[in-house]
Amino acid sequence: MNYIDLHAHMISRTTDDYHRMALTGCVAVTEPAFWSGRDRLGPLAFADYFDHLTTFEPARARQYGVAHYTWLCLNPKEGEDRELARQVLALIPEFLDRPTVLGIGEIGLNRVTRNEMATFLDHVELALEHHQLIHIHTPHLEDKYKGTKVIVEALARDPRIDPARVMVDHAEEHTAPMILEHGFWTGFTLYPRTKASPARALDMIEMYGPERLCVASACDWGESDPVAIPEFILQARRRGHGDLLIEQMVYGNPARFLSQSPKFKLPRPGVAVSTD
């Protein structure tokens, strides 16, 4: 089955991973900007990173027939540094016109501090100013509940935000309902140990219904699996779900969300995707 992985940090992965993803049906990935595992030395490092994401990665993916798109931002782990945030935010507009940039992301919160929140809101302003889609990272572990609540309530209060243009990612059992209630898209990231496993993502799809839900591998430099979506497909079939639902989760829904950017081209133009 063909699939779109809308959260994959391919800069951290080998070309062998593109190969495996292509072999298992991956037709497109979208790569949010994130933390490299250590704080970067200054704004120039981000300019280099954004250039890498918009030149080298699309070319590398193309060799395997995989379309590569990206999201740009200063990630939440580095959002505490307000001066760095101001410098990086000033850099982003010159990259937004590049043909594979879909929006601002993955922005959000890490330890849920005042500075992180200010940096998050600055990114939201930038997205609104340039009419960009927004991709949101919700915090890890014990910080997820409060961070998600703070983010969702702040965006819901802002009448300029169209929730249909916002993806709130890394949702779990205690955060998905509040995200969906406010009309945002919700993502489940399929990690081996943290966040949502394929089995628990399926549980949530069964409980909350498939509308505005997506799954992604979120593969990065840590313990993660670039073929987590094929694993999800296998487990969904074992669970007794039909291909119609599974295809909606791994292809139709991400295509519907991403197609709101005029730059996103459907990898399989023959397959109809409802955009209502």
Binding site: N110, E142, Y145, V150, H174, H241
Partner: protein, 112 residues
Amino acid sequence: MDDYSNTCPLSQKQLLDDYFMDHRAQLLALAAFLDRFERSNLRNAETDFRIEAFKEALHLLVGPGPERARRVQLVMSDQNLDLLDVRDSQSAYGAPVHPAPAHPHDEQEGAQ
């Protein structure tokens, strides 16, 4: 609370036939971890916030009521919604370091 009954397409018999062995292994891993914790040669974390949250969550597993996964998540969550003045560390710990006074007892009791 929402009613999620009948949402899993497999019968209980199918669930046991297909998944019992996986979760049997997970149950034993958990039991052995708690034994190991007790057998430790240095008992210096008897009331560590992580083991406290862990034990509280275990009660939810054997208690009645739906949505155990969501309720376990809430036990493992910081529910104080105040923003931190400054970042204390880069990483999270997996359980709330200072459990909020309004812990999720309301939620748990409501579900039962």
